[in-house]
Amino acid sequence: MSTLFYLFIYDLPDNKAANKRRTRLHKMLTGYGKWTQYSVFECFLTAVQFTQLQIKIEKLIKPDEDSIRVYVLDAGSVKRTITYGSEVPRQEQTIII
């Protein structure tokens, strides 16, 4: 199954209800990829996984208040990614703990 690289960036307002949504969103995204910076997640997902996540996000957020941006990148773009002060994105094949 081929995967694409998805970059999730979110910005939610600062009030009690939105804080709750932000925490929930953060926890949700932790299940799909790597938290790299405040409000930024990097995920390698198959089409099915992405769709599932998309549905969950659409249920959670309020589009008139919150803003979430998803950038979809192919293998070439991932390879050309430049980082300063942190690791370049890579898909983990094995997690040994």
Partner: protein
Amino acid sequence: MSTLYLTQPDAVLSKDYEAFQVALKQEDGSWKKQKVAAQTVEQVILMGNPQVTGDAFVYALQLGMPVHYLSSFGKYLGSALPSHSRNGQLRLAQYQVYQDPVRRLELVKAIVTAKIHNQYNVLYRHNEKDNPLKERKSLVKTQQTIDQVRGVEGLAAREYFACWQRMVGNEWTFNGRNRRPPTDPVNSLMSFAYALLQGQVMAAVHITGLDPYIGYLHEVHHGQPAMVLDLMEEFRALIADNLVLSVLNNRKIQPEDFTDSLGAYRLKENAKKIFLQAFDKKMNDEFKHPVFEYRCTYRRAIELQARLLGRHLQEGVPYKPLILR
């Protein structure tokens, strides 16, 4: 998609919304927590019985992940498997072939031929061209009973392992294959690799819906997953033996990476991680599948072979065990 290995006995795997959380006990008694993206994990392999919470366990099964248990020595203990396929028709076909001496012998011959062929290739690539395995392979064809085929298989195995001392080099000693417990580092590494492989094949057998306990080459014994062992034969040399030889020849694992306890050898913690990493890399190696003619990984190939065997049992499509060059 990735594999999650937990090798620390004092680790706790729990569920945290959509993610897994692994807590590791530190020397000062505190817990170091880290998140694992559960949605992108394909399977969980637990060694040396770490704790798994009920939530995490059920979540793994819900997401369709098999959970395999290995002892801290790397012996395969068992698996929890998602309820993918329970194919009654396929099982009936499997039992029918078990009762049919002609079809059964034919299958056994195919399996053993492929095994010897793949063993020969290991020797050939390590410059052990002077060996009788080619003759043994053609000898299989003329055998009349399953026991005779097993005899040839045993003969070939002895001749195959006789070449191993030269291939592993002078640093290691290898006087033939032994197990329960393996009495030298090379044998213990091999047992470890076979156990890891068995977990993979077991999962594939379950996904396909085959009955793991009814096999053709291996006798039906209490607690012996004969079908799994049958399907493993073609992959032993291809995956496990090649892997062991490559970590030894590339000096990724050294003699001092083993500890000896009462004549049983075990890998030290760090070397275990290196070996697991190498195993997983091997499973993700790609090659062109000779039957389907597209590129696939060994991980996928194991499942393909199980499905191919299923097709053979139900529809009579000839079963071709995996043979590479």
